[in-house]
């Protein structure tokens, strides 16, 4: 019984996500989980996941947030529009230039934050105004569209079905099965390896239970997507980003340093960690991911608008905190943030399907954000005092 309680406590947000999904699935008469809508959910919220992963790195370093994210999205989007549509430059070259622009913005902000030690809140607040202004200057206040087909296809297309299935995309299902198999192989290899070396492992039934749960989610998702048009490119992009950053944060020295700086900067410094560099890199990374998000967004809207990206920083920050990141830094995980982003996405999408007035939606979102975090904080507080 105690075990069950512990598992519940550790996964409060995951449970909340499942509950919200079920509520909306029922109240929308199942429309929420229709294949077409699931695909829609992914392409609508892809940018949030990308931004939230970057934001997590900033929050980890000590609860700092990057407010300039939305404006950077607008600026890089404007640059993409100018290069690809107006100048007609090669799309690969344009994409490279846009990503470099993102990195340069990050270098600028990171320099003031990490080396001059101006609080991140202030530097990125200034950035929020500055980059929005530059975006407006580049676009001259106008919207650029449409983007060429070959650019849009990069982001908006689906992985083609090599088997030409009629109602089902067979490649999509195959990929789901392959990913599940890879997961199972990695897990069992590490289990065998550990037992061979005599290291402690988790109980076998827990590992199997986890594997069954994760594989069934992957396969259900792949079948759902197969019934529509297959795997959207957006999912591929966010999948790669999530896996790479989950790996960095949990398995590498660089990731460990990120947590250490957030947990106790002085101790980190006296342990030989270059804390300035860690701080600097997390803001460079944030701007880089903002540039990727910008490229995704211009493709989805098929236009580069000066007002693009408004309030995107709030979506990213919200996802991080809902996903269990600590407002003081040093705690949080990439999988948690993905859960947070999906939670926000389902909330938005579910309310839209039900036709709730958009003003009311905003108010509800605010309340849900507070409730989710209060729930988390209180349950942890109880656990500590138990």
């Amino acid at each position: 019984m105690i075990k069950v309680k512990e598992v519940l406590k550790k996964n409060t947000m995951l449970i909340a996500l499942v509950v919200v999904t079920i509520i909306f699935a029922i109240s929308t008469n199942g429309i929420l989980l229709v294949p077409g809508n699931v695909t829609n959910l992914i392409s609508q919220n892809g940018y949030v996941v990308v931004l939230a992963v970057g934001m997590l790195m900033c929050i980890l370093t000590g609860g700092n947030i990057d407010l300039s994210v939305g404006s950077v999205v607008a600026l890089v989007g404007a640059l993409a529009g100018k290069l690809i549509v107006t100048k007609g430059l090669n799309i690969w070259l344009s994409i490279a230039l846009c990503l470099i622009a993102g990195i340069l913005i990050g270098v600028w902000q990171g320099f003031w934050i990490a080396y001059i030690r101006i609080p991140a809140f202030i530097v990125t607040l200034a950035g929020m105004l500055l980059w929005r202004g530059v975006a407006l200057i580049i676009l001259d206040g106008l919207t650029i569209s449409p983007f060429p087909e070959n650019y849009l296809n990069l982001f908006n297309s689906y992985i083609p079905d090599v088997f030409n299935g009629t109602s089902l995309n067979i490649t999509c299902i195959l990929i789901g099965v392959v990913i599940s198999l890879i997961y199972i192989i990695i897990q069992s290899m590490s289990y065998i390896n550990k037992t061979k070396k005599g290291y402690q492992t988790e109980k076998l039934y827990i590992i199997i239970l986890k594997a069954v749960l994760i594989c069934s989610i992957i396969i259900t998702l792949s079948i759902t997507l197969a019934r529509h048009k297959g795997i959207p490119m957006t999912l591929v992009i966010i999948g790669v980003i999530v896996i790479v950053y989950a790996y960095i944060t949990s398995k590498t020295v660089a990731g460990r340093h990120l947590y250490a700086v957030g947990g106790n900067e002085k101790a980190a410094k006296l342990s030989g960690i270059n804390t300035n560099k860690v701080l600097f890199m997390s803001y460079v990374n944030m701007a880089f991911l903002s540039a990727i998000a910008a490229l995704m967004c211009v493709a989805r809207f098929n236009s580069a608008a000066p007002t693009a990206g408004t309030n995107y920083e709030m979506d990213a920050i919200g996802s991080c905190y809902i996903g269990g990141a600590s407002a003081y830094g040093g705690a949080g995980s990439v999988p948690g943030v993905v859960i947070g982003a999906v939670f926000m996405g389902i909330l938005n999408n579910g309310m839209s399907i039900r036709g709730i007035d958009s003003n009311v939606q905003k108010a509800i979102k605010g309340l849900v954000l507070l409730a989710a975090i209060a729930f988390d904080v209180i349950s942890k507080y109880r656990a500590k005092n138990a």
Binding site: T252, G263, N264, K266, A267, N274, G330
Partner: protein, 512 residues
């Protein structure tokens, strides 16, 4: 015999795992200055926290009688309303507020919705005169020195109509002149009928001001001496405080061969990081050999920590000058990473603030300073990491459920051991231990001394920075004496006595 103002009867206070106070009795007469002495961790501060209501009624056992009635304080406010005011060791002043504002903080003049600044500053100025502080009550706290800030604390207490003033090591951060001034002020208050309790380590100060002296050891009262009638000598107080011959407290170290010089610094100078030109460390030279434990003794603010940090990859100060030789070779260490690579470890005095990541488990804290030992090309081998953490947990006998336990939940002694394992994990040759036994109980202290002995037996060099003289004398082969940023003496273990070391410090202080 004068009337008793305060009587604390059979006070017992337990923290999880530690009995901080065990049947402590304290009687304070009206109009006297009562000193409480004891080693670090003897329970002095805890006793005062019980008295002032920081530890509320019900969290301890025993009775407090004040002005002949029983008191049940739930918070500091309750004890202050009775005229019991405590001045803590760490000053509790807001730097960007004026003296007057600080004095009446939480006790504002005028009505709740409209503070009367005129009354505030007028009253503040009057009280400042009585404590002999020649500053405007509108001066900001950050603009006055520590000595004057201490006087502001006293003035703040007076503003609360204090009857019983408690000072917790009031002179710890003051220089000789400021200390004398403060003590004279206490004597003057005594003449005016005020009662005070003073907690101090400085025996000469106590014999100067105190009427009675209560000695605490390991959470229990040993005896109360009367300065007038009893034969009060420093030996008697020290014996009471320490309770046993000095030799038992420190494990014997035998057969350790002292080898070649491992680290040497020559003419080391460090400036204050903010005020360049103000020297914090002046022309310091020292050396240490393999298998040797050297001590650096000195009062708070002597510059020991600053010296250590400046050696440890320039982690403190600016304009660092001097030669640093490791194994006879002159080198420069520009950052902590280089210092760790040259096998130097600095174990901080502030384990919670600067040493450990409290929210992280033992495992992560253990490996943090030398991640390359458990990683390959930047990827961590978690299994190897767990093994390493377990190895040190067993070696140092760290009491925790597993290496995945957050260090937050460990006792002070065990946290200190985690900090030690973190630095032992870096395989250092030279370890600088800064107050390694501060705030931990006697048993854990002994264990840490044993660890130190094991380390030197492996040929490592240990530099022990400590303000506890018995510890320095008991553990070190050789002792440097530091005061006001300078080395003022060096003494071998066999010649070292507390009196000699204190004497050297005081002598050097007077010359300045």
């Amino acid at each position: 015999m004068a009337k008793l103002l305060l009587e604390m009867k059979k006070i017992t206070k337990t923290f999880p795992g530690v009995k901080a106070l065990d049947n402590v009795n304290l009687q304070v007469e009206e109009g006297e200055i009562h000193a409480i002495v004891g080693e670090n961790g003897a329970g002095k501060s805890t006793l005062m926290k019980v008295l002032s209501g920081v530890h509320p009624y019900g969290s301890y056992e025993g009775k407090i009688l004040y002005e002949e009635e029983e008191c049940k304080f739930n918070e500091i406010r309750d004890s202050e309303s009775k005229g019991i005011v405590i001045i803590h060791q760490e000053l509790a002043l807001v730097p960007y507020m004026s003296i007057g504002e600080n004095m009446f903080l939480g006790n504002e003049r005028g009505s709740k919705l409209s503070i009367s600044w005129e009354e505030t500053y007028n009253q503040a100025s009057k009280i400042l005169k009585t404590v002999g502080l020649n500053e405007s009550s509108r001066t900001l706290i950050k603009d006055i020195g520590v000595g004057k800030q201490q006087l502001v604390e006293v003035a703040k207490a007076l503003a609360k109509n204090v009857k019983l003033l408690i000072l917790d090591e009031p002179t710890a951060s003051l220089n000789e002149t400021d200390s004398k001034k403060l003590l004279d002020l206490l004597l003057q208050f005594k003449k005016e009928g005020m009662t005070s309790i003073i907690i101090s380590h400085k025996l000469n100060e106590i014999s100067y001001v105190a009427d009675k002296i209560t000695i605490l050891r390991d959470g229990a009262t040993i005896e109360t001496l009367d300065n007038k009638t009893d034969e009060v000598s420093e030996e008697r107080i020290i014996n009471g405080m320490v309770g046993r011959a000095l030799t038992d407290r420190f494990p014997k170290r035998e057969g350790v061969k002292i080898g070649e010089t491992s680290l040497e610094i020559i003419d080391w100078n460090v400036d204050h990081p903010l005020y360049s030109g103000r020297k914090v460390v002046k022309n310091v030279s020292l050396h240490i050999k393999k298998g040797e434990v050297i001590g650096v003794a000195g009062l708070m603010g002597a510059g020991r920590t600053e010296l250590a940090l400046s050696i440890f990859g320039k982690s403190y100060g600016t304009n660092i000058k001097g030669k640093l030789l490791i194994h006879g070779e002159e080198i420069k260490l520009n950052n902590v990473k280089q210092a760790i690579d040259k096998k130097i470890a600095y174990i901080t005095e502030d384990r919670k603030g600067d040493g450990l990541i409290l929210s992280n488990p033992i495992r992560i804290n253990t490996t943090l300073a030398k991640m390359d030992k458990v990683s390959e090309r930047g990827v961590i081998d978690m299994d190897q990491e767990v093994l390493a953490a377990k190895e040190y947990k067993n070696k140092l006998n760290i009491k925790a459920t597993s290496v995945e336990q957050d260090v937050d939940n460990l006792s002070g002694g065990n946290q200190q051991k985690v900090l030690l394992s973190k630095w032992m994990f870096t395989d250092p040759d030279i370890m600088i231990l800064d107050e390694p036994t501060r705030g931990i109980d006697v048993g854990a202290k002994y264990e840490i001394y044993c660890i130190i002995n094991d380390l030197v037996a492996q040929g490592k060099s240990i530099i022990l920075l400590s303000s506890e003289l018995p510890e320095v004398i008991g553990m070190c082969d050789r002792i440097y004496i530091m005061n006001e940023g300078q080395m003022v003496g060096e003494v071998m273990k066999k010649d070292a006595t507390q009196e000699y070391i204190m004497g050297q410090i005081l002598k050097s202080g007077k010359g300045v």
